[in-house]
Structures are given as C-alpha cells and as structure tokens.
C-alpha cells in the first residue's frame, strides 16, 4: 500500500491500460457504442488528475487514504458464496422483485412478480438491458454531469462496470412493494463497480432498495453509481444501505433528475467502509419537482464518511429538502459539504438543507460546509448545521424520571435518528433500518 507523495502515485493505480484491455476482451460481445464509451471513459480516467488538497470539492477529505493501488478486477470464475445469497434472501421485507450481484456479476435468481412483468415493468441486469433496452441505456447511462469532484472516478466506473440493475417502470404503473438490489463484494482486494439505473416514466411509482455489503472482512474497492430518473408526476423512493467491510474504500455517485411534478425521496444509510464518500446530485428540472434527500451515518472506530451534495433548482416552483444526520463515535471523521444552487429565474424555489452532527466522542471530528448560491430573489432558502453532544437538559429530564444514564443516552440517540427514519413510509422498511442502526450502534466500542 503506497503512502508516497502524490507525485509518485500513478494516475491509474490498479486500473491501468493492460487491466482495461483484459476487461474489454471479457465484455467484447457487447454493443459497439457501449465499448466505445468505455474506451473514451478509460482515456478520460487515465488523463484526469487525482484529487488535490486545494480542490474545494475535496476540502477536509483524507486524500492519503484514497488509493487506487492494491486492487484487482475479480475474475469471472469467482464462486458464488452460498451464505451471501442466503443473507440476501433473508432481507425481511416483502419485495416486488430482486436482483443480486456478487463481485459485479449476476448471482442467484432474478424473481419479479409476474403481474408486474405483465404490466411492462423491467427489472433485469444491465448486461441484458444492453441487448433489450439499448436505446434507453444509451440515453440515460451516466448521462448527468459530475459536479461534485469525482469526474475521474465516474469515468473509472463507466470503464469497468460489467453489470448492474436496470429498472424501468412504464407510464402509470404503480408498484407497492420495493425492488431489492443487492451488491456483494468478495475476496481480498476485489474492485467492484455496482450500478443501479432507475427510470420511472410519467405518473409511475416505485421504491428501490440498493444494498451494498461485503461477504468477508477483506479490503474492497467499491465505486458505485446509482442514477434515478423521475419522469413527470412520478414518485420514486430510493433507499441505499451501505454496509461494506470496515477495510473498504467506497465511493458512491448518485445523480437524480426530477421532472415536472415528480417527487423523489432518497435515504442513504451509511454503516460500512473505512473511507466512504457519497456524492449526491439532485437536479430539479421542471416546475413542481420535489427532491427529498435524507442520510443517516453511524460512524464508529476510525471510519471516515465524506458526503457531498448539490441541489440544483433549474426551474421555478421547485422544492428540495435535505437532512443529513451523523452520529460520531470513537475516532471518526465526517464531512458534510452541501450546496444549494438556485439558477437565475428559478423563482419560487423552496430549498432546505440541514446537517446535524451528534458528537459522542471526544476524539471525533465533524466538518460541515453548508453552502448556498442563490441567483433569484423570490425564494425561500435556509440551511442549518449543528455539532453538539446530547442535550444535557433532555438527559436530565429522563434521568429525573428514573431512567438510568445508559438507557437515557440510548433513547436520546435513537430519538436523533428517528427524525430521519420516520420520514419513510414503505411498510417494513423503517423497522429494518432501525434494526441495522441498533445493531451497529450496540456493537460499538465503548
């Protein structure tokens, strides 16, 4: 593992020309436009500089820990680990469809409720969508601008992505139960490129759960992307549950496009990884669009969570509401850097941005960079950031009622999380998340 000065680190690390050539030959049968796009992306990736200390979009990040070296694209011969798929199946929420990937390759069965298939809902691996829905992919795959600092990594993702989830919901179709996509990494040094693309047509409704996890405790490199396209009047709920191994370096790039009168609610739960960066871009493109961006991070030991968000209001009468909560324990670091941009003439924008850091350790560090760039005057834009411990008065109140200190602290911490969790209305999901939060929280080193 290299800790040398930036000058000596190569721009491509483990993902140089020969590794890419191997990857290309492995996917040689895929459409020419796709291969061409991969080639262009690899060139762009190899040419782009690594993030520097002076890059505003990487301010406060531990760049030394972000490395491209020491990883490898797992061979296609990786045996599917049975226990992993059992765990995936155990996800105790009724689903409309499921897809699983191990080291970026489809694994297990891809069940979809027959009546949904009959109504034209498509839930298939990306590799298959290249054959059946090439035109849609061409139009929407990684089609949005990278404005949060990771253009290089987005290019790397496109160059090496082998598979992922392709979800298409036709006009007017409403799906009650969530669609579950599981991405697993397996084996020391495995580099994975999870991808989820959700296309919701006019007036449709869908809930997608992306689940990211490691089948072992090894170090992985996870560079994922999830793009959501919410057509006019559609309602998209997205839930990301990130629980990579504690040695994993993870970058997840999200882009959300919200069209007229559409509503997107996304919640990202961050549990795993050694260094986990999450970028989320919401583009409110037409009047009536609404994006609700939620995140909950439970940081323990020496984890670093780096979250960068951008809410762009490109049309009048649009709304966005962001709430990112971090609980920091032990020697953890978090970075929240958020920006609301209101374009000229995007009048009647209503934008909110809030970052709350709950400091539970004397050695934890929270960095907040809540930003605004407003170029229209008839708007309502507010943001807030707080970093503090549990309110001693609330704690006193509970203790005065006979609740022991440990229990009082726990109650207040869960109350802190509840503000985010309670915003979800998909049946069964809030309880599932509560369980995940609770188990990580109670396993923490005291």
């Amino acid at each position: 593992m290299s800790t040398a000065s930036p000058k000596e680190i190569s721009l491509t690390g483990s993902f140089g020309a020969s590794v890419f050539a191997d990857h290309l030959s492995a996917v040689a049968g895929e459409p020419a436009w796709w291969l061409e796009r991969k080639r262009e992306s690899h060139t762009a990736f190899a040419a782009a500089a690594l993030p520097r200390r002076t890059d505003e979009s990487w301010r406060f990040s531990s760049l030394g820990a972000l490395t491209l070296d020491g990883f490898a694209i797992p061979g296609s011969s990786v045996g599917v680990d049975g226990t992993v798929l059992t765990a995936a199946a155990a996800f105790p929420v009724p689903t409309a469809a499921r897809l699983s990937f191990v080291n970026g390759r489809p694994a297990g069965s891809h069940a979809i409720a027959p009546e949904l298939a009959a109504r034209g809902v498509v839930v298939i691996p990306l590799s298959k969508a290249l054959e059946t829905h090439g035109e849609l992919l061409r139009q929407h795959f990684m089609a949005q601008p990278q404005r949060l600092g990771s253009a290089k990594f987005a290019a790397l993702h496109t160059a090496f992505v082998a598979d992922g989830a392709f979800i298409y919901v036709p006009r007017g179709v409403e799906i009650d139960q969530p669609i579950l996509v599981s991405h697993w990494a397996f084996g020391a040094g495995a580099a994975v490129f999870p991808h989820t693309l959700v296309l919701a047509e006019e007036n449709s409704r869908v809930t997608v759960i992306d689940r990211f996890g490691s089948a072992d405790a090894e170090a992985h490199f996870a560079l994922g992307a999830n793009d959501l396209y919410a057509g006019h009047g559609s309602q998209v709920t997205y839930l990301g549950v990130q629980d990579w191994s504690r040695k994993t370096v993870s970058l997840q790039l999200n882009s959300t496009v919200v069209r007229r009168d559409a509503r997107v609610r996304s919640l990202n739960l961050h549990l795993g990884g050694k260094l986990a960066r999450h970028e989320s871009l919401s583009q409110l493109q037409a009047p009536g669009a609404f994006s609700e961006m939620l995140a909950l991070t439970i940081a323990t030991e020496e984890q670093e969570f780096d979250q960068r968000t951008l809410q762009i209001h490109q049309a009048p009468n649009t709304r966005s509401d962001l709430l990112y909560k971090n609980a920091l324990m032990d020697r953890t670091r978090t970075i929240f850097s958020g920006l609301i941009i209101v374009d000229p003439d995007a009048q009647k924008t209503d934008a909110y941005q809030s970052n709350r850091n709950l400091m539970l350790s004397d050695d934890a560090e929270a960095n907040s960079l809540p930003g605004l760039e407003i170029q229209a005057n008839d708007v309502r834009c507010t943001h807030g950031a707080t970093s503090a411990r549990i309110d001693p008065e609330q704690e006193f109140y509970l203790r005065a009622r006979g609740i022991p200190p440990d229990k009082a602290e726990e109650l207040l911490i869960f109350g802190f999380f509840e503000e985010v969790l309670a915003r979800l209305d998909t049946p069964g999901v809030p309880d599932l998340l509560r369980g995940l939060v609770q188990s990580k929280f109670s396993a923490r080193g005291r």
Binding site: D55, N357, D363, A366, L369, T382, A385, S387, R389
Partner: protein, 480 residues
C-alpha cells in the same frame, strides 16, 4: 481645476442602471502635488524607497524584503476566490505617495489641499464632537494625527505605523506581524512589503478609553494602492473602541486597498473595532483582519461594507485564552458591479471560549454578496460555543448571494450552530407601507433598514445614522 472624476470612461463593471451610487459623498478628488512617489509597480527598489523615506531600522527593511518574496511566490487564491482578482494589474499600481511622513498635530498645519478633503468629509467636526483621537490618512501617510490630552495622559499611545515601530519598538515589535504572519495570504504579504500609515495603539493596563479613537482613510490618487497597517494592543483589563472609515473618488482604473489589522487583547481586555467601508466602486478592497484574545478578553468586530468593486474580508478572532470571547457583526450591501465577499473566522484554541457571528447582506440589482466563514474547534478542548447566523436579502430578481461556511468541531463537549436564510422583501410588506402613504422606494428603504436595524443599532449613533443614509442612497431607484 475641476474635480477629476466626472468624465469617467467606465470600467468593465460599468453599466450602472442605479442612480444614486455615484452621488456618494466621497466621490471627489483634488489635484495634489506629492513630494514622495515610489512610481508604479512593486519591486525591491520600491520597497527600498519606502523603507528609506521612512528611515526604518534594518530589521524592518529585511521584514519588507522577505514579505515581497512571499508575495511574488504566492499564487492568487482563485481556486476558491473570484477570478475578478486576475483583473488587478499589480504593475500599474502606485505603491507610495505622500507629502511627508510626519503627521500634523493640528488641522491648521495640514496642507490646505489635503485639509479641504477632510473638511468636506466632516472629520474635524466629528473629532470636536465625540472622538478621543483622530488620525486622517491621505494616500500613503497620515496627514493629521491627534489624541486628546486627557487620553494621552492615561498613557494611551495613538500613532501611525512608522512612528509606532520607531518610537515604541519595545511595545509594538513584540506583536507586529504575530497575529497575521506575512505568509498568511498573498495580500497580507503585499501589505507587509509595502505598508505605510495605519494606526498603532497601546492602551495600558486597566485604562478604559471612554470615547472612540478614529482613523479615516482617504485615497485621492488614481491607480493607487493603499496599504495601511494597524496594530492595537489592549493591555490587561483595558478597553478601547476604534473606528475607521474610508472613501475614495471613483476613477476609471482600479485602485487597490490592502490593509492588515492586528488586534491583541491581553487578559480581560476589550477591543471593539468598527469599520464603515465606502470605497468607490473601482476599488479592490482585500483586507486581512485578525485579533488575538487572551484569557477572558473580548474582541468584537463590527464590519460594514457598502462600497468597493470587490471586497474580500473575513475578520477573525483567535481565542487563545480560557473564556475568551469573539464576535463579528457584519453588514454588506452589494449593488450593481459590486461583489462583497465578506465573513468571519473563529479559531477556538482554549477551553470555554465562545464566539458569535451575525452576518447580514443585501444584494441590489446585479450585486453579489458572499458570506464565507470558518469556525474551527480543535481536539481536546471543552465547553466551546459558536453561534453563527447569516441572513441574505435579495432585492431584485437577478440579485445574487452565496454562503460558504466551513465548520470543524472535534470532541463531544462543544455546541456549534450555524443557520442561514435567504429572502426578499415581501410584497405584502411593501403594499402595507404604500397603503400608509410611502412611495415604493421609501417602503423599500424602510424595509431594508429594518432588516439590518438590530445590527445597525450596535454602531455608535453617528455611524448608524450615516449607515442609514448610505443605504437610502444605495436603494434609490432600485425598485422595479
């Protein structure tokens, strides 16, 4: 000879649809013969010239030379700051202009051509009315400097930078360049190389200066760079209020003002520093201001920015001693062609330190106001508190505001809170006032003054009246 500025060929930030802005009271200049002129551009020769006319000690000349190297080596900070900085032509600027280095103690001795400038700005009158001491800087040097006898008898020293370093090195050298090191940023380095003028103030232990000390900074010459240097040391338990005002005529070429202001509040001392900045709209105002607050000391910056083309100024407090307090009150008004990039910096370096930042900005027309802030609470401290509020008011449909705070908190024993909001003057409010017989313009002025009223009230009376008048002037014709 008529005033120089009426035939402006406007610069790039020109087309100014708002009437009123050029009627600002500072927009006049007189033809002045300068006895000392360092020419244009910055070089070792220019730095030598400045040091020589000031008859400086060798260590100070060396300090300037090192600073020049730092200035030349440092890039412009355009990776975060506006690219408008690239429009400063450092080679065209005149770095030192004066009629002499020794300020006069009475207004009668001040040369007539300089005196009439300050009379027109009302400085001697203000001095008689409510000030404990006044310094009036004209381009590079103070033309006038006086302190009331009662105050000087208390041991208060109030001189310019040249005098301070020459006559009282035992007091000032210890802290000079210590709060803001030369290499802090490119412009603090430029100031350290070329500085001239400014106020050096020392208040002895326990002395509470009952009236404010005031400095007035005036730029008269075209293509000029003013680099005053201020150092205020408030000894244990002492208190002082310092006010500065600034104006310049509007020229078609750009003018640079780059000051360094260092405050040192020793144990239990209180310093209040008030600025009303009304530079003409061709001035680049790039100022570094920072205070060092020792145990139980208090430093408060009241910073009001109305003029200039681009202001970049983030007054800071390093809270070095236990229970030190820091406060920044910031008001910014950005009209067409103006960018007010202001904010605050709070570095908590001791337990139980508290800081407050309240920033309000108003953007008119195509004006842009930016809040940029740093709040830093490093590890292993306890009981630190910060509260930050930023409110922006946008007057016209395409006015612009930005907010870029950076908050770092380590540990679980602090409380830090940041809030910001952006709004406009509500149509209902204007309608209500118009119903009561105000014109739309008056209603707008009243609303804007109401927006900053709670901050303006913290200014001394004379200043808050002046502020209200300036805002009325700037708001004129901005409706519709």
């Amino acid at each position: 000879m008529s005033d120089l500025t009426e035939t402006d060929t406007l610069d790039t930030a020109a087309a100014n649809p708002v009437e009123g802005i050029d009627q600002s009271s500072g927009n006049f200049s007189y033809d002045v013969k300068y006895a000392f002129d360092a020419g244009t551009g910055i070089s070792e020769r220019v730095v030598d010239y400045i040091s020589a006319v000031k008859k400086e000690a060798p260590w100070l000349r060396e300090f300037r030379m090192n600073a020049l190297k730092t200035f030349l080596a440092k890039p412009l900070p355009t990776h975060w700051a506006t690219r408008d900085l690239e429009n400063i032509d450092f080679d065209r600027i005149r770095y030192y202009l004066s009629q002499g280095q020794k300020p006069k103690r009475t207004w009668d001795e001040v040369p007539a051509d300089i005196k009439r400038t300050f009379e027109r700005l009302g400085i001697p009158e203000q001095e008689r009315k409510f000030l404990a001491g006044v310094e009036a800087q004209f381009d590079s040097e103070a033309a006038y400097s006086n302190i009331k006898e009662a105050v000087s008898k208390q041991g208060v020293i109030f001189v310019n930078s040249t005098e301070g370093l020459r006559e009282h090195p035992e007091i000032f050298r210890k802290w000079f360049g210590k709060v803001i090191p030369t290499g802090d940023n490119k412009f603090s380095a430029l100031n350290s190389a070329a500085f001239s003028g400014g106020s050096f103030i020392y208040v002895p232990p326990g002395v509470k200066v009952s009236h404010p000390l005031q400095a007035y900074f005036r730029i008269n010459a075209e293509n000029f760079g003013q680099f005053e240097r201020t150092l205020i040391i408030c000894d244990e338990g002492a208190e002082v209020t310092y006010m500065e005002g600034c104006t310049a005529p509007k020229f078609s070429t750009s003018t640079l003002h780059s000051a360094v202001v260092e405050l040192v509040a020793l144990r239990g001392a209180k310093i209040q520093y008030i600025t009303v900045q009304n530079w003409a709209s061709n001035v680049f105002n790039l100022v570094t201001k920072r205070g060092l607050a020792h145990e139980e000391a208090e430093i408060k910056w009241i910073d009001c920015n109305i003029g200039s083309r681009l202001t970049m100024k983030y007054p800071g407090v390093v809270l070095k001693g236990r229970k030190a307090r820091g406060e920044v009150i910031s008001i910014a008004l950005a009209n067409d062609g103006q960018h007010q990039d202001t904010g605050a910096k709070m570095i908590h370096a001791a337990d139980e330190t508290t800081s407050t930042i309240v920033a309000k900005s108003i953007s008119v027309g195509q004006g842009r106001s930016t809040y940029r802030g740093v709040v830093h609470i490093p590890r292993h401290l306890k009981g630190c508190k910060n509260n930050t509020e930023c409110d922006a008011l946008l007057i016209n449909t395409n006015s612009r505001t930005d907010t870029y705070p950076a908050i770092t908190v380590r540990g679980d024993r602090h409380a830090v809170q940041h809030e910001a909001s952006v709004s406009k003057v509500s149509a209902e409010q204007i309608f209500y006032l118009q119903q009561r017989g105000l014109t739309e313009g008056q209603a707008m002025s009243l609303s804007v003054n109401g927006f900053i009223n709670d901050l303006a009230r913290q200014f001394p009376m004379e200043y808050s009246v002046e502020l209200k008048r300036l805002i009325d002037l700037e708001m004129e014709g901005s409706v519709g």
